[in-house]
Symmetry: C4
Subunit: 215 residues, 4 copies
Amino acid sequence: MKQQLLDTVSINYDPRVELIGAASYFHAQGWMLGTAGNLSAKMPDGSFWITGSGKSKGKLSQEDFVRVYPDGSIQAPLEESVKPSAETSIHSSIYELFADAQACYHVHSVDANLVSNFIKGDEIPLPPLEMIKGLGIWEENPNCVMPLFDNHLKVPQIASDIKTRFLAQKPQIPALLIRNHGVTVWANSLETARNYIEITEFVFRYMVAARKAGI
Amino acid sequence: MKQQLLDTVSINYDPRVELIGAASYFHAQGWMLGTAGNLSAKMPDGSFWITGSGKSKGKLSQEDFVRVYPDGSIQAPLEESVKPSAETSIHSSIYELFADAQACYHVHSVDANLVSNFIKGDEIPLPPLEMIKGLGIWEENPNCVMPLFDNHLKVPQIASDIKTRFLAQKPQIPALLIRNHGVTVWANSLETARNYIEITEFVFRYMVAARKAGI
Amino acid sequence: MKQQLLDTVSINYDPRVELIGAASYFHAQGWMLGTAGNLSAKMPDGSFWITGSGKSKGKLSQEDFVRVYPDGSIQAPLEESVKPSAETSIHSSIYELFADAQACYHVHSVDANLVSNFIKGDEIPLPPLEMIKGLGIWEENPNCVMPLFDNHLKVPQIASDIKTRFLAQKPQIPALLIRNHGVTVWANSLETARNYIEITEFVFRYMVAARKAGI
Amino acid sequence: MKQQLLDTVSINYDPRVELIGAASYFHAQGWMLGTAGNLSAKMPDGSFWITGSGKSKGKLSQEDFVRVYPDGSIQAPLEESVKPSAETSIHSSIYELFADAQACYHVHSVDANLVSNFIKGDEIPLPPLEMIKGLGIWEENPNCVMPLFDNHLKVPQIASDIKTRFLAQKPQIPALLIRNHGVTVWANSLETARNYIEITEFVFRYMVAARKAGI
């Protein structure tokens, strides 16, 4: 039955090619080096495709993805040995929390790691740059913060922290930062998710350079 | 009548392909990330083509542009839903102020944002680099400033500030900086406008690094 | 006899094309500028292919490699004048020390050179970044160090220092740093060696930026 | 007579394609932005091809070069309007001073501009990096300096300063730096000149980062 659904949907929509392109681009920017980071896209039936664990992100192929269903079952259509990303639980939480999310991207950058160590608290203020508009904040000199979470070896603990905090209060922007780890964004299209990664990385780069320059 | 003009002119000259190439290049440099920035080129009839609002600048197509006429009317030839850039009023002001301008480019870089916060005044001194010659300043150790404008949520306010100041006094160089936002250049050809962007970004990068290095 | 072996093996496996691709990529990152750096890959018979001395690393061809045998003999199949990398002795030591190593990559980056001058000792602590997992360290906030060796004009002296220290104590991670020179990694596949270079360079970049930002 | 010579030589050797490739690569690195920088290559008859003045360096064609003869005469074969680089006199001086030089490359980088302001004197000490070997210095912890010249609006003044100083004392390395302007290298092949640019820019990048990091 699930197999039948998959076949029908595949004809109409397969986000893996676009995810491969995004991963290759993020890799070239230095944001998915080695096997770091993970990208996913939701399917009409509520499942999502996600990058497999331990795959080099600069050279993915369609066989390097796994499909994860709402009931937690997993399908690796072409290669049985592919395991879903170790951070699948974070993606699941994001899709549960934000019904409109169609894509969830997580990358590792030097600047995001640095910014995550600027403060000890659980949110980080963003500078009032014009670029912030690209995250949906249309205010003059916006007063905006990004949620910041501690890193844990056990990823489900991070996923649980995200769920608990966001159920209590939705974040201002579709992005969160994990300390010493990297940013996660979600959006209602793959193109917009890619733009959000570009914008958050721009803002991190500004924050790091501003701190170095004493601004 | 306007449609007829358009058809005739199109045969001879369509700057959109070159604008797409420039946007793709600026995007790759990190200066047009997400949907940031806007580029325009003037047509022989006094109208100009400008990038549409909310388009990802790394992957524009000809349908993503809008043509703006001197009377303020707008034409989106292939897709009705395309809106002109939110910053069209700045481009209009530049073409009004500088009759020779054939292109006007505006990009968002981390370095430009940083430099705009170096001082509180309304102009910023540039270092005496050889590169400044590329902006038309042929002096030994030139004493050159770039006009600096405050950012506003309402873009027509920025456009109005530019017009007022430049009508009172023309700037030394074909470039201006908007605080926390980015640089705008204008030139008598698309190639020269692209060179001006490269040169101003080089100078900003120098200024940021010099400040960090204590020079 | 050796020639016969070579012919048989060549049919099944020639790592030079992948090494050329890796060198071209590292060059584009600024890690193999000029003729700097050297890459090698082990063959089933215990010999290894290594980049020739004095070759521009951004544009290698298969003729620019030399094959080094366990007994120290050398074969430059297509061009007699090609000499093995001046740092061949380091690669030989690595393959002797680590029986599983199938590839050994050595590159020169600005960040690696900077980090090597952060301390005077013979090992350097790494920050507890998520990226460290990519080097095989699966701990929460890992306490990890990279071995650091002094540079010598006579490369066999460096190779000897490496052998002496690693025979006494194996390093935590498959990587070592030579002061004012660059990083060396080894792995059980060429793809993994490439990932290790990406990860160590990411970590160096973080360390340099963190120091500049006062973190 | 000169025309006849040109025809004969052209059949055998035309360095312009390789110069175009080098300029495109340097442009992509941010070292020949706008119309900045100039590259030349010597011909068997003692003349040299040099990039034309005011050309965008990221998109040169063979028509954008001028041939300069030892007697000072100039030939722009395909387009009369092309003028030789404003800095031709520096290239002429280099070829006069160094008989073995077959190529002379001059680029403008942010790091070179910064380094040129580290000291007020007329030479700058280089750090003892392994990369220095690539400039022909084979010493342990080499004690090496790069000649530094003041910039002048009148380029022949710079050329004259170079000649005077180098006739009195040859530099240790095939490179010189002009303050607020950029580096010039020369070599006995185009490939080696390209490598020298890569190496000097690597060293400048190190010097700037080391100063920022307090090393």
